[in-house]
Symmetry: C2
Subunit: 308 residues, 2 copies
């Protein structure tokens, strides 16, 4: 069974404190290595935290251009150059980051040995922004100060299990099996199209993960996280800062749990903790009063999503 996991590199909000780091997560989907957000120091975290791999990263998704979510990216890009990466790197972020890159890469005084393919994020609406053989990513709008995107990752389950009885019934030649395993329909000699679902066995549901940081409480995200296996929703504050949370366009842990519950998700990860809290147990406690499958996105921890 292929892997689908989330490793937490940083779970703190803007000011790094109490040994915690700014936002960054390392995703492994199959053999693909993906980075979601890239706060200052992420390249060092990718060296220090087990089960992560700086060099293999092929896709980076940046939710928004506040420093604690992107300031590590120029250092990471530069180090990958010094390490002689040659495969292209796809970066999904809001437009202004491109100019920031350009200026700082120019200052390096030499070209990068690999290509950066920049994909600007939409300022409104939702969109399928990435579609590879192994996973796809849909983006949607969060409600924060300035444009901010959520990301919904879904694996692709290749090689569906073939329904042998159906293949025999429709006399499908062996040359077409591979195509059917990849999801294709079959057209008989008499020009009748047999849908793929009839030719294959119902397989496991593709695994899904959504990342929502930063945002205030908004139910507009519910359609995008509905029934998802694991969702990360920022919870900068606790109950007693509920007013502050709304003013600053952030969530409390209880609000994150309310969204998770309404969306019927499998598990909620809590993070982006305020620097005012040295210990973060209180977030989990308050979230679990609403939704029991709530967990702290503990730094250094890898959360596996199981196939079922």
């Amino acid at each position: 069974v292929s892997e689908f996991s989330i490793t937490i590199l940083g779970n703190n909000s803007a000011i790094p404190r109490h040994g915690r780091h700014p936002s960054a997560q390392f995703l492994k989907i199959g053999n693909q290595s993906i980075l979601v957000d890239c706060g200052e120091g992420t390249q060092k975290r990718l060296r220090d935290v087990p089960k992560t791999n700086l060099f293999q990263i092929s896709h980076i998704f940046i939710s928004h251009l506040h420093g604690d979510h992107y300031l590590g990216i120029v250092g990471l890009i530069s180090s990958l150059g010094l390490m002689r990466k040659t495969k292209p790197l796809h970066i999904y972020a809001h437009e202004p980051l491109q100019e920031i890159f350009r200026m700082q890469i120019e200052l390096m005084g030499h070209a990068l040995p690999y290509e950066i393919i920049f994909h600007p994020l939409p300022l409104a609406g939702d969109a399928l922004i990435c579609d590879t053989a192994q996973f796809s990513v849909q983006t949607f709008q969060l409600d924060h100060r300035g444009p901010t995107c959520g990301f919904r990752f879904e694996e692709k389950i290749s090689n569906k299990k073939i329904n042998k009885e159906a293949l025999e019934k429709y006399e499908v030649p062996i040359e077409s099996w591979n195509d059917i395993q990849q999801g294709g329909d079959y057209t008989t000699k008499d020009n009748v199209t047999i849908s793929n679902s009839e030719l294959t066995l119902k397989g496991p549901k593709p695994r899904t993960y959504a990342y929502c940081s930063d945002t205030k409480y908004t139910e507009t995200i519910l359609p995008f996280i509905k029934g998802i296996d694991t969702v990360y929703i920022e919870s900068t504050y606790t109950d007693k800062e509920e007013k502050l949370a709304a003013e600053r366009f952030h969530c409390t842990a209880r609000q994150a749990a309310t969204l998770a519950k309404k969306a019927g998700v499998g598990r909620l990860l809590l993070g982006h903790f305020s620097s005012r809290y040295k210990k973060v147990d209180i977030y989990q406690k308050e979230a679990r009063e609403v939704f029991s499958h709530s967990e702290i996105a503990e730094e250094g921890k890898t959360f596996q999503i199981e196939l079922w």
Copy 2:
């Protein structure tokens, strides 16, 4: 006696490895807090390393605009804003950094609560770039890829010791004593000027520190580091990479020691170590073959400069 100390925050070259960090040093001169270079993660280092103080920093000097020397500065500036700093921050760096600041501060979405006073560094020659009541800084050119500046810090010894016998001899009234302690001359009723050196006792020599990173071996820096108490000279490589050092405009430890010896300095600190070395003892060994007062600029260590 007031303090003059250098605390090492990072001593590694471009790719952070082996738990080492990119270039940054925290200087304490009297009650002034100064930062020299600011690689990625410096704000976190300033929280983790004892005897340093992020909030008190009033002056930042950036030697050149390669990522491992400046990428931490936007995060640091941003955090100081969130911490509600109000006193101005002086930044000395090459011109292009100003536009990088401007773009990234704009993305923060709110103004900083303190003023940044940007002082562009000269592209040629040497200059007195900073002159406060407690210290002065002279800059000079290093020889690296792209414009790179060295910095020479000198304390100001206020309150000279008065020569009582001389004051009585010239009948100096008590109202003039303070002025003489600050270095002023005295003019008698008969309009004769008595020089300050005659009215005060010979005090200790002001302490000095110079920072030279990055540079290849060049004797043009000798006049600026001559007789200095402590000098930091980069030593990216060891003897066996001497050719590589020249190609990449860096020094070996032996070359740094040769410069220190020729300049007759008190002590040499070695740093900017190549990521290829897990252990750095070899740098000290090779440097000491030329100049015995050579030391590794060990991360987390504070080097005091004593008055004498």
